[in-house]
């Protein structure tokens, strides 16, 4: 829970920078809030603001959805962490973000994994909304989150959560080769596709 709290603070800061950037780009307050509540996927929100401002709404939708397509395989993998029953599914699906998946996957299947998924999802959702509103209110006085090193904090946290899964040899091979493919493909392909290409690492496990 303390771990989730640390990530919550970081998400709040990034949310604030999203709110500030979106307002500075000329988006109305309702649109900025609506994006954070209903899209709730940071990368695609930043991307959409950038593309809408330069007058390319179709690209904003396509690029954003390409970036978020990874949520489908994530959902397949962690459906058990969300639990059963329609309400849990409908609400829990909206809380599916990289970090809630990572926290859930770091634990063995069972009630502990469910608690990890829900507490991470709810905490980060609330932090993202509070951050967005703070960014709207504070505007330009929100500092650059890169100066705080937050851009290094997220991948480091992700790696810490992944390590337990990487103890399994097959998973390690699949994950590391997938990550390599994604990094090499990043300069060549639009954002979102390289990460999806990491699934090609599964070919290593498929043979067995």
């Amino acid at each position: 829970m303390r771990d989730v709290g640390a990530l919550g603070v970081a998400v709040l800061a990034v949310g604030a920078s999203f709110g500030a950037i979106a307002i500075a780009a000329g988006l109305p307050v309702w649109a900025v809030v609506a994006m954070s509540v209903f899209v709730f996927a940071g990368g695609s929100q930043f991307m959409a603001v950038g593309l809408v401002t330069v007058g390319n709404p179709f690209a904003a939708v396509f690029a954003g959805l390409l970036l978020n397509a990874r949520h489908l395989p994530f959902g397949l993998a962690i459906a058990d962490a969300i639990g059963h029953g329609w309400w849990r599914r409908l609400v829990g699906s909206h809380l599916l973000v990289d970090e809630s998946v990572a926290f859930a996957m770091a634990l063995p299947a069972g009630p502990g994994r469910q608690r990890a998924y829900w507490s991470t999802g709810v905490t980060l959702f609330i932090a993202w909304q509070i951050g967005t509103v703070l960014g709207i209110l504070l505007g330009g006085s929100v500092g650059d989150t890169d100066a705080l090193g937050l851009d290094a904090a997220f991948p480091a946290g992700m790696i810490a959560l992944l390590l337990p899964s990487l103890r399994d040899r097959d998973t390690r091979q699949v994950a590391l080769s997938g990550a390599l493919v994604a990094v090499l493909a990043t300069p060549l392909l639009p954002a979102g596709l390289p990460v999806l290409l990491a699934l090609s690492g599964l070919l290593l496990a498929w043979r067995r």
């Binding site: 303390r2 771990d3 970081a10 649109a31 609506a34 994006m35 209903f38 899209v39 709730f40 996927a41 695609s44 959409a48 939708v61 954003g64 959805l65 990874r70 949520h71 489908l72 395989p73 994530f74 959902g75 397949l76 993998a77 962690i78 459906a79 058990d80 599914r89 409908l90 909206h94 599916l96 990289d98 998946v101 996957m105 090193g149 851009d151 290094a152 904090a153 480091a156 946290g157 790696i159 810490a160 959560l161 992944l162 998973t171 699949v174 994950a175 590391l176 997938g178 990550a179 390599l180 994604a182 990094v183 990043t186 300069p187 390289p194 990460v195 999806l196 290409l197 699934l199 496990a205």
Partner: protein, 102 residues
């Protein structure tokens, strides 16, 4: 126009999220595929961490960020608490930038 963008993005993103969760039960996946699903998630998370650590808008991310992530990863490997990992990564990157290293 703006509202159409937000609705399309929100509906599409939620669609991806819900589709995965619902399909898991609806599709009668064979056992080998079940075994692959956690590996698929691990591959995607590793790819997110790798690309976020090393690249920025399709180009190399500079020195400060990868160095910060490397410090965090090393601490994680040494079984340091999660909070320490995250803080050390951020502090390393922030200090390097303070020293003028991008």
């Amino acid at each position: 126009m703006l509202i159409a963008v937000i609705v399309a993005l929100a509906v599409g993103t939620y669609g991806f999220r819900l589709a995965g969760v619902v399909l898991r039960d609806r599709l009668d996946l064979p056992e080998p595929v079940h075994r692959l699903l956690p590996m698929a998630a691990a591959a995607l998370l590793a790819a997110l961490a790798g690309t976020a650590a090393l690249t920025e808008s399709g180009a190399f991310a500079g020195v400060a960020r990868p160095a910060g992530v490397a410090v965090g990863a090393l601490l994680a490997w040494l079984k340091a608490p999660f909070v320490v990992v995250v803080l050390a990564a951020a502090t390393t990157a922030a200090l390097l930038r303070l020293l003028g290293i991008p």
